[in-house]
């Protein structure tokens, strides 16, 4: 049982890769790539899924993959035009194939009518072809070599094939046996085999080891070229292979059933027309060679738990190193002391190890983006809008957990962009835009962060309406005068939804506040920018990794704390005249002609130990969401260092104003502050003079969950 299930797991893991390759290939095709390599890659992906599924008797999956393959074969052989409709059907089919794989993995069964609808769409693509076979529910017979017995009644089909096959030395070296391959061909139908000795090397020659045997096989019957290629699939690049249709060779016998007879165990894909298959051959060979040369980099599948254990240990190592360094510092050794030098080496090594370990967890965002193109298609279909997704920076690498936890917010934002961002095709054309909306999804590294942008070219935010809704819902005071950025920020308030009619797509009661909470939970930030008539852009800024970050060590009310470097713009030691009191408690910092609100961190955290107050506080200028700046008052700034992030959630819970904790060199715990939350905590009473809007206040806490 166990070995079987582990093989099954492997199959599904491979399916993930295959589906990814499929999506990638289809995306390239949609962008205009029509070369044989791309089409073959797509075909092979579907075919491999089918082959594996056959081994596990996943009949639904096999049946669907098979029909999909038939359409792809039509595209590959050129008998099927790659119209936008066909392209769309193929992409939707790839989505459905992914669903089927997922269902099979969870041992679910999808409702048959869903598959039927997709099958019908695929059939429609084949409409022009004399496809009349009932292939939907014929069982797929899985053999050692995935042979396919075709019975395609294509009117102009070859009477057979001539296969010229000459193994290279590598074929033997890899343990393949030509006799088995020939036998497999023979199994397809009557076959004449002729040995070709013309290239036999001189026995005494220097290259006596070079194999010289070749065979010419003449296969009669209506076998499709695909079936033949499948036989030789495993020796691609290991032999010289030439398959050409046998136009007018005499057919010795026809043991295959006629069209009227019941279909054989497994029907094959449509036979390509002779002309097309002939034209395609050189490309195929070239493709095989290119594939051989490129070769995938060897990879290793590792249980994530093991990696995480390693990461934890490395985290401890870093802390341990910091402790030793601190002890040494306390001992006041000479800087060129041997021990100091070794500890410095230790520090560098620990850093190296840490970076290497982090790199294991880093993954390109590509699969995530590919999933989004599917979300976009579904959203466009559901809303009747026309949209395309343009992605860039897909190879940007981000921590695996970040990628996983970004999937939901991104899905939501893509749906939002289609549903609320883009106008309908008619409105777009009326505004002088392309009827098809474009949503750009991009990723990039910027100074220790990953920036994800989602931009639509829709109508932009309707600020008067947002303000109107917010007022009606009591989210802002009726007379509040808000700047554009503040109005945009209202979208992130819980329970805010602008769609006047709740669509079943994105109006499910989850708003952008959920997105923001998800991003905040990842230690990231989200901001919004919009230009009326031109579109809206969301920018998500995320930490590269969840495990470490660069922080500034400060003291607040006698406590050592860490502020993330990424949020600090500058540190300021204010001159006596720079701080201006407003009312009893608040003060403003005057800097370069502007006034910026200050927040006393100690008071904001509820630490009111007056004895620990410094006489000359320092200010950290931080930028919060929506580019609002604020100055945090701290007692002292010590140094800047990399800290290992330790969550408080698992053993305690969320703490307002604190994002996590870390262990300092002396083994003590320091809290990592969340400047946004601290700044926002203050924003509540100051934003409106009217009765304190409780939502702003609640939001501070909300952002923590």
């Amino acid at each position: 049982m166990a070995p079987q299930s582990s093989i099954r797991d492997t199959f599904f893991e491979e399916c993930e890769d295959l589906l990814e390759a499929l999506a990638e290939g289809l995306a390239a095709m949609a962008d205009g790539a029509r070369d044989t390599d791309t089409v073959n890659a797509v075909f092979r992906a579907v075919h491999s899924v089918k082959g594996g599924a056959g081994a596990f008797a996943l009949t639904d999956l096999v049946a669907f993959a098979h029909r999909f393959e038939t359409v792809l074969d039509g595209v590959r052989s050129g008998t099927l035009d790659l119209t936008p409709e066909v392209m769309h059907t193929m992409q939707r089919s790839a989505d459905h194939l992914a669903d089927l794989v997922e269902a099979a993995r969870n041992e679910d069964v999808l409702p048959p009518d869903v598959s039927d609808a997709f099958l019908a769409n695929l059939d429609q693509c084949l409409g022009a072809e004399p496809e009349s076979l009932d292939m939907g529910d014929t069982p797929f017979d899985f053999a050692v070599i995935p042979l396919e017995f075709g019975d395609d009644p294509a009117p102009k089909e070859p009477a057979g094939h001539v296969i010229r096959f000459r193994p290279l030395q590598q074929l033997y070296a890899n343990g393949h046996d030509p006799a088995l391959l020939i036998a497999a061909v023979h199994a397809l139908g009557p076959c004449e085999v002729a040995l070709d000795l013309s290239a036999l090397p001189d026995w005494d020659g220097p290259d006596a080891l070079t194999p010289g045997l070749g065979w010419t096989l003449r296969l009669a019957g209506r076998e499709s070229e695909t079936a033949l290629q499948e036989i030789f699939e495993f020796v691609e690049g290991l032999c010289e292979l030439d398959i050409s249709p046998l136009e007018d060779a005499p057919v010795p016998a026809d043991p295959l059933p006629s069209v009227a007879a019941p279909p054989p165990p497994a029907p094959g894909p449509e036979a390509p027309s002779p002309a097309a298959s002939a034209a395609q051959k050189p490309d195929l060979a070239a493709g095989a060679e290119a594939g051989e040369a490129r070769g995938p980099k060897p990879t290793l599948r590792v249980d994530l738990d093991r990696v995480d254990r390693l990461i934890n240990s490395v985290g401890e190592l870093i802390i341990n190193q910091a402790m030793i360094a601190q002890r040494l510092q306390d001992m006041a050794l000479a800087p060129d002391d041997d021990v100091s030098l070794h500890v410095e080496d230790y520090r560098l090594l620990a850093r190296d190890i840490q970076e290497a370990v982090m790199a294991i967890r880093a993954q390109p965002v590509k699969p995530l983006f590919q999933r989004m193109s599917r979300i976009l298609r579904e959203a466009a279909e559901a809303t009747g809008k026309s949209a395309r997704l343009v992605t860039f920076g897909e190879n940007t690498e981000v921590d695996k957990t970040v990628i996983e936890r970004l999937a939901d917010p991104l899905t939501h934002m893509i749906r939002n962009a289609v549903d609320h961002g883009l106008e309908g095709p008619d409105a777009r054309r009326a505004a002088g835009k392309d009827g098809t909306g474009t949503i750009r999804l991009g990723a990039a590294h910027r100074s220790g962060s990953v920036i994800i942008t989602i931009r639509d070219d829709g109508a932009g935010l309707n600020r008067p309406r947002i303000l109107d809704i917010a007022r009606r819902k009591g989210l802002v005071a009726p007379d509040a005068d808000l700047a554009d950025a503040e109005i945009d920020g209202l979208l992130f308030l819980p329970g805010f939804s602008t769609a006047s009619a709740v669509s079943n797509l994105s109006g499910r009661g989850v708003g952008l506040d959920v997105v923001r909470n998800a991003v905040t939970a990842l230690g990231g930030r989200i901001s919004i920018a919009s230009v009326p008539g031109q579109g809206t852009e969301f920018t998500i800024s995320l930490p590269l990794t969840l495990a470490v970050m660069d922080g500034m060590v400060v003291s607040v009310a006698g406590q050592t704390m860490v502020v993330p470097i990424t949020s600090i713009l500058e540190t300021i030691r204010p001159a006596p005249g720079d701080l201006h009191r407003v009312g009893t408690d608040d003060s403003l910092l005057s800097i370069r002609g502007r006034f910026i609100p200050t927040v006393d961190v100690a008071r904001s955290l509820g630490f009111t130990d007056p004895s620990a107050r410094a006489d000359f506080p320092l200010l950290l200028l931080v930028e919060g969401e929506n580019q609002s700046q604020c100055a945090l008052v701290v007692d002292a700034v010590h140094d800047q260092r990399q800290v290992v992030i330790k969550g408080l959630d698992s053993n305690y819970g969320q703490v307002p104003g604190v994002s996590a904790a870390t262990v300092l060199g002396d083994g003590q715990i320091a809290l990592i502050l969340d400047p946004d939350a601290i700044a926002a905590h203050r924003a509540g009473p100051a934003a409106t003079a009217a009765p304190r809007p409780s939502l702003f206040h609640a939001d501070v806490h909300h952002g923590q969950h």
Partner: protein
């Protein structure tokens, strides 16, 4: 809960004193007992949450058990100890005045908590066990640490 090495009806508890009263906790939940060391206070934390401490790289919250039961905060003393206990995947520390003994009792000796007025006591004490000189209160660790900890957020 029951330790399989013992007769089925026997349960083992670690008993300790906090705020002058005797409390006990199922031994299966106790991980270790440590000396008190300074903690890092948490902002906006309820009274009984003293702060967090570093346990071999993990950040664990320390609860003052006496304060949790509405008694005065445990006065600082070198004899104070921290009982490190686990509830599910959550590790917490309980500051107590002293650990007394390990108590092995039959299940039938645990009495239901009498109907007391204090909400805290009703919710966090699952039963009482009579011991020589009085009784010890069996605490429900989940109730002690969870609701207030989450409510603090």
């Amino acid at each position: 809960m029951a330790n399989t090495d013992l007769a089925e009806t026997d349960l083992e508890f670690v008993t300790f004193s906090a705020g002058g009263q005797s409390f006990s906790i199922d031994i299966g939940q106790v991980r270790e007992i440590r000396r008190w060391s300074p903690v890092t206070p948490l902002p906006h934390a309820p009274d009984e949450v003293l702060g967090v401490m570093n346990l071999r790289g993990s950040v664990i919250p320390i609860y003052d058990l006496a304060a949790r039961f509405g008694l005065d905060r445990t006065p600082e003393s070198p004899r104070n100890v921290v009982v490190i206990a686990m509830h599910g995947s959550q590790t917490v520390g309980l500051l107590v005045e002293a650990v007394s003994e390990i108590l092995s009792v039959g299940r039938e000796r645990i009495q239901e908590t009498p109907d007391v007025r204090s909400d805290t006591a009703r919710q966090t004490i699952t039963g009482v066990i009579t011991v020589d000189e009085g009784m010890t209160r069996v605490i429900d660790l989940a109730a002690v640490v969870q609701p207030r900890g989450k409510a603090a957020a």
